[in-house]
Assembly symmetry: C2
Homo-oligomer: 212 residues x 2
């Protein structure tokens, strides 16, 4: 038996959630078929890339006919496990953490922050934006109690590695890291780092060089 | 005369701000030379990639000797125009925008939010976290008055393209887009999109597939 997902290149994989969102939009608009050109215009990705990506997904459409929206929807829902909920724990409720608590991934019905941790919270916990927030001393207990699987790290830099080490001991499989620290983890753990200052500086560099 | 920056590949370019930050750390620690292995361990990037990247930067070190920290510092400062300040305008002060106002890129002394816009602000403006916030009706006037160059888009999805169109008319050169909308701009304008839900879903996909 072929395992379809294992042969999808990483660059393509990174675009899966984006494809899924846009195909949902086409489905909501009542469209039955969509061409790579339409997807390209909506997603601002060139259509050659889209056709190459879709060649890894099996028979979702015919040449000159477009892709079948319902087939695509089923394919992406399945590959992204959209029916399975993922409980998120927020580690650190400062400025950015607070924004995440309020935002709480409203668009993703299957992803929710279920518990948060902050040094300013009392041991017995308190509610912020409807989410229980506990002192980090309760991390190991409450993370498990609330069924959290994915931690989002929004602590100050000085605490990033220490909290990471505790999360590693708790056998988390991945960490979404918003601190500017390059945290150390064993190879078996996925870390995705989003460093806002670095993103900003990169854009500025490209802007300045475009100008020349 | 060779233009050194034009031959640096895009993937390498994206790592420039990160290199700069880590080399600053080595300089602060008083280190005179640093090896690709040391950089690799600190940055969690494999050392072959680092050596390949550095091969584009000219003579910053000798084999078996390491890279010269002060030379690297000067090189990255120059290439990243670290001495030139970039004024940022925040478009939309909701949950995420509010977090940015408070955070205000403390680590980047040359990047500052100088003005913000929000539909809840009065026309004459008000101060939030020390930054003047105006009604979007004043966008064209105040953006110029405060010398803003780079807009960060944190408006609700429904306003994203409309605000983008106004920014395009104002001849901005780039936009940092935090909305889930793929905004349309002319080719001459750089857009960098950070879609938090998509980042989260991609990590979840990798976590689930690692497990199998």
């Amino acid at each position: 038996m072929k395992h379809e997902t294992t042969k999808i290149p990483q660059a393509t994989t990174k675009r899966l959630p984006l494809y899924y969102r846009f195909i949902q939009n086409f489905a909501k608009a009542g469209q039955e078929r969509v061409s790579s050109k339409e997807l390209s215009e909506a997603m601002k990705i060139d259509s050659a890339t889209i056709r190459r990506d879709f060649s890894h997904f099996g028979a979702l459409g015919k040449k000159g006919y477009g892709y079948d929206v319902q087939k695509m929807l089923a394919f992406f829902r399945n590959i992204l496990d959209q029916d399975e909920r993922m409980n998120v724990a927020l580690i650190g409720v400062g400025n950015l953490g607070n924004a995440f608590l309020k935002y709480n991934f409203q668009k993703n019905h299957n992803t929710k922050i279920v518990v948060a941790f902050d040094t300013k919270a009392p041991l017995e916990g308190k509610m912020i934006s409807g989410i229980p927030v506990y002192h980090p001393d309760a991390l190991e207990d409450k993370f498990v109690e609330y069924g959290a699987e994915l931690p989002i790290l929004t602590v100050p830099s000085r605490s990033a590695q220490m909290m990471t080490d505790r999360l590693v001991k708790m056998n988390v499989r991945g960490i979404l890291n918003f601190t500017p620290i390059r945290i150390s983890v064993p190879d078996s753990i996925r870390v995705h780092t989003i460093d806002l200052s670095i993103e900003l500086q990169t854009l500025i560099y490209f802007m300045r060089n475009d100008e020349e």
